[in-house]
Amino acid sequence: MDDVMKDRIEQLVDFIMKWCLWQFHSRSWDRERQNEGILTKTMQLLCDEPVDLSTPSDRCYWVDAVYLANGFKKTYPWLGTMEKKDIKLLMQGLKDRIDYLTINGSLNQELTNPLY
């Protein structure tokens, strides 16, 4: 991954950390589900792909994804210059980074607690 891509991922991470709450559910399994559900739908919206809204959970992920996609586009004009295949790479890198910050590399000792 080149430096430009890394820098762009960090910019997106900064937006999520400042303006979102969904990434901080209290357990690892929940965070995995949140990160996957919302960031996948955000990628689909940014790439003009169809988004599954068949369940209430899907709709819930979707509203956060719409907020995120709109916020990304408004805050980072460079997103509009990228090709869809690069946006997919960017979003995969973003998901990996958010997974690391909130799950795999997190210092939060409660994440693996089996009880809420």
């Binding site: 559910h25 929940d30 809204l53 209430p56 819930c60 956060d64 997190s106 210092l107 939060n108």
Partner: protein, 520 residues
Amino acid sequence: MPYHTFECSECIPERAMHAVIKGPGEDLTSCLPLGYLNTIPGTISERGCAYCGAKHVIGAPMKDVIHVSHGPVGCTYDTWHTKRYISDNDNFQLKYTFATDMKEKHVVFGAEKMLKQNIIDCFKAFPHIKRMTIYQTCASALIGDDIAAVAKKVMAEMPDVDIFVCNAPGFGGPSQSGGHHKINIAWIDQKVGTYEPEIKSKYVINYVGDYNIQGDAEIMVDYFQRMGIQVLSTFTGNGSYDDLRGMHLAHLNVLECARSAEYICNELRKRYGTPRLDIDGYGFEPLSASLMKVAMFFGLEKEAQAIIDEETARWRPELNWYAKRLKGKKICLWPGGSKLWHWAHVIEEEMGVKVVSVYSKFGHQGDFEKGVARCSEGALAIDDPNELEGLEAMEMLQPDCVLTGVRPGEVSKKMRIPYLNIHGYHNGPYKGYEGWVRLARDLYNAIYSPIHQLSGMDISKDEIPTDKGFLTRQMISDVNIVDDRTTPSEERPYTGDWDIVTRLRGKTYPKLESQQLGTA
């Protein structure tokens, strides 16, 4: 490493990982304090107990309920009416609090008979109230009184009453947070699904994790109802006992304070498939985004946008007036709970106030993750601070105001640093667009109050000048606003009413039964 050791805590090495300073490039994999652990012997905590967390914070804002503490009378005094969780039914829950008043003889011989008689007496004294919550305390838990069995007997004898039992004695967790957990789970186990409230709309939510401090929840419910959404229950500010038994019928749980109430949302998700949407109700931009997210879930974007446009146009000029005068001021944001992360970033974005420190008395590491993620570099984050650490932090950071509760607030006043009560509020509500302006006004009044010109004087020896009056607003708060022409004419100090909540009650809202769920 970002851990910060207070000089006063050098003799308590266990405190070494309970405070961090966010340095350049620090993220959550390197900068996160410990949290929600037993308070360390040798330090003094500001924490409450698990019983307080269950009764005072979560349960007691229910408005149509006799709240009984089964224990010594002091327990209930310390959980009574200090949070200003008002209601629209004449504040029954604020006016009365009940304790069985256990004494030594009850500890020796048991207090179940007394409890049963107390319950019956309460219902006879207030015949229009048919619902009750009973909270265990340390004393009744230690002797093993079976409160649930007593409640069951009473309900068999009095079929028109319903009783909820919460077993969260004071020692049941490191802090009040343990009580939050216990009452959430007890409520869903005992009561959710036992009542079917009337469903009046195709768009139905539970508004969860707001306790209606000075009307916060009512402000939010007004927005939702203006969109045509039925708020089935409010957990638990201004909440009705029976509505809260019907939480399983909502389509969406809108969650405000995660750590006090996420447990019930998670259980509703697991047992009934109801999704959970976390929102920010404070600050113009986060609130607008939150209203729009809830609206999008139901396909009500136009209704939400109309509210956002109307409220922003009305209140933005007044927020801007304060923001101009607050710019660059430093605050310690020491709320105890969720405002740690609700405000950490947006108060800086929208009021220009720099957050130099955050803390939580009982927050989990998850709460600190949100706070640290949103704070700027250089901010100090402290878990479960003791009073000496608070003093040292104020000396080190020199804030212009400390946003906190009464106890640490009084300490800051002794240091001549003004404080703003953000537990029970000074002049809230602070939620909603107008509420956010009220917070800016209270912050402005705290920082620039002329009383600070006198508070450092010792009238027994200092010479008090008699030829000078107080400095005026223009001389202290407006002095840095160089050119008045830069202030648009519509910018002005707060023009709202003293009471902005009562007028919402009895308001009529649109009916939207004929509308369909929106699609993407």
